[in-house]
């Protein structure tokens, strides 16, 4: 009996952790008339997934929100990698004036949450008439000091002899950085990419500040518009919307569990 006790406790906890997902999925496929049925029985009397998901499309441009999320996450990630990889390589393997100062700034910036910079960035974007653009959604995240820190750590372990040999063979510094050193750190690159995409797919604070136009809203902001507008009780449609917003990250997690956990936990300081 005592042998099974840990499993019983874990199962009860897991039930509570997964209940919101289950309830979301169940409500999303039930007909609105079953709303008063609080049983957890998985088979609805009337299978209404098409109706509920259809309602989401009628009320809000959910497809557009998802597309915005993809554009914003991809744009952010590409610029983050393009700027962080060379900087991290220089910090790890090259000597240049100001290296110590720059690294101190990177470490200092790790402590500053994005929310603390939101106000001046917002005012600056307002002055430049750039609010309500994809650029405004992405620009505060173009520099990831976390990526620089992580890649520097990882690049440092790349053998100097190989870099020297490559230089003698006529490789340019650019090729060494992107084609040799980065290739040795692909797990870090994958983990960082996952971390970045999850963080920005789920972010609400910044999009809420710079976007007033429904057509530009990423999924969390779109979800907020939807739930604010849906003060009535079409819970079927609301849960279908929530399922659509949540599904991409949850599916990626289920498919690439190890990399996902590494990506999210190696960060710590978000």
């Amino acid at each position: 009996m005592a042998r099974y006790l840990p499993h019983v406790v874990l199962a009860l906890g897991a039930f509570l952790m997964l209940l919101p997902f289950y309830w979301m999925g169940l409500t999303a496929i039930r007909s609105p008339s079953e709303i008063f049925d609080i049983s957890l029985w998985p088979v609805p009397d009337q299978f209404s997934a098409a109706r509920n998901f259809g309602k989401v499309g009628e009320r809000v441009p959910m497809g557009r929100f998802m597309l915005n999320g993809v554009i914003v996450c991809a744009g952010i990630l590409i610029v983050q990698i393009l700027t962080a990889v060379p900087a991290a390589y220089a910090l790890a393997k090259l000597k240049f004036p100001g290296r110590g100062v720059f690294f101190a700034l990177v470490v200092g910036a790790l402590c500053v949450p994005m929310q603390a910079l939101a106000l001046p960035l917002f005012v600056g974007l307002a002055q430049l008439k750039l609010l309500n653009t994809y650029f405004a959604l992405m620009v505060p995240f173009f520099l990831s000091v976390f990526a620089i820190f992580l890649f520097r750590q990882s690049f440092r372990s790349y053998p100097d002899e190989i870099i020297e040999a490559a230089r003698l063979d006529g490789f340019s510094e650019f090729e060494i950085c992107w084609r040799l050193v980065l290739r040795g750190s692909l797990p870090s690159l994958a983990a960082f990419s996952i971390f970045s995409v999850v963080a920005h797919w789920n972010d609400l604070y910044w999009p809420l500040i710079v976007v007033r136009d429904t057509a530009l809203a990423p999924p969390p902001l779109g979800m907020l518009y939807f739930s604010d507008a849906e003060s009535g009780a079409d819970y079927g449609a609301l849960m279908a919307g929530a399922a659509l917003v949540t599904a991409p990250m949850v599916l990626c997690f289920l498919l690439a569990r190890r990399q996902f956990i590494a990506g999210i936990t190696m960060t710590g300081v978000k």
Partner: protein, 284 residues
């Protein structure tokens, strides 16, 4: 070679200037003025905004709410995660399943899941209150009773952070050498509780420290639950939500800058010590 190094950091350095350095200076500048976004003139008010903050009932309430939220999320989010990690660490074949089950909320979009929680906790339509009634108690109005708003948001916060902390604790537990536990057993630490207190808990010290700091920082940034559930009504503002309202809804730029600096100071106190440690060793 030197020039090559500078060329490689130049893009990142320019972004650092534009995204971090200039904004922090501008923020500090705003905080001593009564600037309102869009206004043509502004005046220097010195520390007036900070004095105003500490006599502003809304800000003080937001600060108190955030502290209450943190006081629930930190112990529960860390303690439960440690308990789950210890249990999961003891399992073998089922370990992958438990990891998935407890980690799933970390990846889920909190805005969407807060909407789901709102429905789960609904006084008449939600299964949680149905279960409470079935057990013979009075239904609880989680989202109508002002006294329960912050604890309810903290419940969601714990739900989301638990799996993240569990994974960190599991990494810490895996790093404890098996010989050490075995030695403690031979030295007379017969019960698992004794072995936990003599070996596991001291060995987990750095991990626990790290988990407490990251949980505290994320607790001070609570925002989504307020945005979805109450929009700050019924006295349920949190620090970040109050800043959002002053800065972006009421355009009180100068005052919001002062509030932001107070928020930043709190986060820095929590994270500076941690970052110095991080500098020595990335933790994962």
């Amino acid at each position: 070679m030197m020039r090559r190094g500078l060329a490689f950091v130049a893009p990142a350095a320019l972004l650092m200037l534009a995204i971090y350095i200039v904004p922090v200076l501008v923020l500090a500048g705003f905080s001593v003025t009564d600037y309102r976004l869009g206004a043509l003139d502004w005046g220097f008010v010195g520390t007036g905004n900070f004095a105003r903050a500490f006599s502003d009932p809304v800000f003080l309430r937001a600060l108190a709410n955030t502290l209450i939220y943190a006081a629930i999320v930190i112990p529960a989010g860390v303690g439960l995660a440690l308990g789950v990690a210890l249990l999961v660490h003891g399992t073998k074949r089922t370990r992958g399943f438990w990891e998935v089950a407890y980690f799933l909320p970390v990846t889920a979009t909190l805005v969407a899941m807060a909407t789901v929680w709102q429905f789960l906790l609904h006084p008449s339509l939600g299964p949680v209150n149905a279960a409470i009634r079935w057990l013979g108690f009075e239904p609880v109005s989680f989202l109508a009773d002002p006294a329960l708003l912050i604890p309810t948001m903290a419940l969601m916060g714990v739900w989301q952070v638990l799996g993240f902390n569990m994974v960190l604790f599991l990494a810490g537990l895996t790093a404890i050498p098996k010989d050490l536990t075995e030695a403690a057993r031979l030295d007379g630490a017969k019960s698992p509780i004794d072995r936990f207190l003599t070996v596991t808990w001291p060995m987990l010290g750095p991990t626990t420290m790290f988990v407490v700091v990251t949980t505290s920082i994320s607790a001070f940034k609570v925002f989504e639950q307020v945005a979805v559930l109450t929009k700050g009504r019924q006295g349920s503002e949190t620090l970040l939500y109050a800043i959002y309202l002053e800065g972006f809804e009421y355009a009180e730029t100068g005052y919001a800058a002062a509030l932001t600096l107070i928020f930043l100071a709190l986060v820095l106190i929590l994270s500076v010590g941690q970052t110095f440690k991080l500098d020595r060793k990335v933790h994962y």
